[in-house]
Symmetry: C2
Subunit: 132 residues, 2 copies
């Protein structure tokens, strides 16, 4: 199972930083944080990020160029992601909605495409930001 794969030193360091953050982090902010742990160059971060995305430990929030840990350790959702993003405070949460996933997973168009992956981002205002 790829999700149980052994991580290398750099991959662990980067994952650790991301998992400790409740919110998505940007590559260069990760770089800043990991400099004290011996990672010096952007490429070292990007390589770790690529791998972590590939094995489903983290996801990329495409519209924000940032990375968030996948809390759902059991199911390897590397291929089907749904996020909610508050456009005011930039709070991001991963959504796990069975009905929605089923709907998307089984989506077929009439163009003969074979889908293997999707990414959905909802934008709006979170509870807190609606009030203020």
């Amino acid at each position: 199972m790829q999700n149980q794969q052994v991580l290398t030193k750099n991959q662990k360091i980067v994952l650790d930083i991301i998992e400790k953050s409740s919110q998505p982090l940007k590559a260069y902010s990760i770089l800043f944080d990991v400099k004290k742990r011996g990672i010096n160059a952007p490429l070292q971060v990007y390589r770790a990020l690529d791998k972590l995305v590939e094995i489903g430990k983290i996801h990329k929030i495409e519209s924000r160029n940032s990375f968030i840990a996948c809390k759902n350790s059991k199911c390897q959702i590397t291929k089907a992601t749904v996020f909610s993003i508050c456009e005011n405070c930039e709070d991001v949460k991963e959504i796990h909605d069975h009905k929605l996933s089923e709907h998307l997973k089984h989506y077929k168009d009439n163009k003969g495409m074979k889908y293997s992956k999707y990414n959905l981002e909802f934008f709006g205002l979170c509870k807190r930001c609606i009030k203020n």
Copy 2:
């Protein structure tokens, strides 16, 4: 109606390039193309792109940092976009699926978020690339 808004010179030039392309274009490739028409700097392109996205004439493909014209001139879909992307040939198409849009439009989570927008990108292989 904002979709019938009068466009400025730069906005028209940029939109024209994007509409003539069947595939999404990147900002700097647009810049290259419009240099002969008097647009010299990235910012001029990005400003036009921002506006065109805002009024729904074009959409940004977030995972590709590229821009595609909205063919659907009647409905101003600035807020609800669905794309299919071939990971081999990078062919991108906008999907208009009533059932899917309805489903997404009415999606509610239990977090109290108020959604105003979404973007969905499906990835896979197109008909042609499956064969080859």
